[in-house]
């Protein structure tokens, strides 16, 4: 069931309540869910879907998925975390994910942004 305009607006307000200092607060999220459970607003399923979508996007902005081919040190991950936290003005945590198809190098994904420094990416640019 698609959310109507009013439900989307309520989900947006609940999402704003869930973010403290630019970070999704688990306590606030729990409070919002308790409020939804207790008050049972109109169209709760659509409201929770819209709320979940916004929270997932926000959490993805706070996570840096580092795909790599070959070994990556913890120091490198910390360096990437620092650079992304500085770039997005929020705390970003990095997680490593092996991807041999990159041949060598890294591909960092933060939310919908992708930073490509892999050999496969550079070769792909050549083939275009």
């Amino acid at each position: 069931m698609a959310a109507d305009k009013q439900t989307k607006l309520l989900a947006k307000q609940l999402f704003k309540l869930s973010v403290v200092d630019g970070v999704v607060s688990p306590e606030q999220v729990a409070g919002v869910l308790g409020w939804v459970e207790q008050r049972s607003p109109r169209r709760p399923v659509a409201l929770l879907k819209a709320y979940h979508h916004r929270i997932a996007i926000e959490l993805a902005k706070s996570r840096a998925e580092v795909e790599h081919a070959g070994p990556v040190t913890d120091a490198a991950l910390k360096l990437i975390e620092g650079a992304m936290s500085q770039r997005y003005k929020r705390v970003v945590t990095a997680s490593a994910k092996p991807n041999p198809s990159l041949l060598a190098g890294l591909r960092v994904r933060v939310g919908s942004d992708v930073y490509e420094t892999s050999v496969a990416g550079q070769l792909a640019k050549l083939s275009v």
Binding site: G70, P71, Y115, L126, V128
Partner: protein, 191 residues
């Protein structure tokens, strides 16, 4: 006989000269047996005859002649008018024919001019269409050629990249990858 008549006239003239001119005239009439009463009666009968003839003969004849003359005059007049009208009609018809000929010639000239213009226009349009078709065909050929070249270039690049990837996958060692990752990390950290 002639001598007798001359002698009678001479004796009458002598008598008249002797008694006056009127009396002489009377004696002459009397000598020839002309009686005044008979003369008056003859004059009256002549007048009656003349009246009858005039009423039943002369007058209708004169009327008929006048009527005939009038008819002839009318006919002549009508013939003259008809002649004049015929001349005018001939003149008018000649003028109309001349005007119609001019009009027809003008129409023919205009039709010729229109036909020529139409043919010229058609020819120009045909030439333009053929030029457009030729240009489109050339453009299409160029596009097709460019597309084919792009496809070939892409395919060659894809094969080169694929080959390079396979070679690199075999040749790159963990140390090479670690060094590359280090460099990539530094590159990302300065973004």
């Amino acid at each position: 006989m002639l001598n007798l008549l001359l002698a009678t006239v001479e004796s009458t003239a002598h008598t008249a000269e002797a008694a006056g001119p009127i009396e002489g005239l009377k004696q002459t009439f009397m000598h020839f047996g002309v009686e005044p009463k008979y003369l008056v009666m003859q004059v009256i009968s002549f007048l009656i005859l003349f009246g009858v003839l005039y009423k039943f003969g002369i007058k209708p004849t004169i009327a008929t002649m006048e009527e005939r003359n009038q008819k002839i005059a009318d006919g002549l007049k009508h013939a003259e008018e008809t002649q004049a009208r015929l001349a005018a009609a001939q003149q008018e018809s000649a003028a109309i024919i001349k005007a119609a000929q001019l009009e027809a010639q003008k129409a023919i000239d205009e039709a010729r001019k229109t036909a020529k213009d139409f043919a010229d226009k058609q020819q120009t349009e045909a030439v333009q269409r053929s030029a457009d078709l030729l240009a489109k065909a050339q453009q299409s050929i160029e596009l097709e050629h460019k597309k084919m070249l792009d496809q070939a270039r892409g395919e060659i690049a894809r094969l080169v990249v694929k080959t390079t990837e396979q070679v690199l996958a075999k040749k790159l060692s963990d140390a090479d990858r670690a060094a590359y990752n280090e460099a990539a990390t530094k590159e990302l950290s300065v973004l």
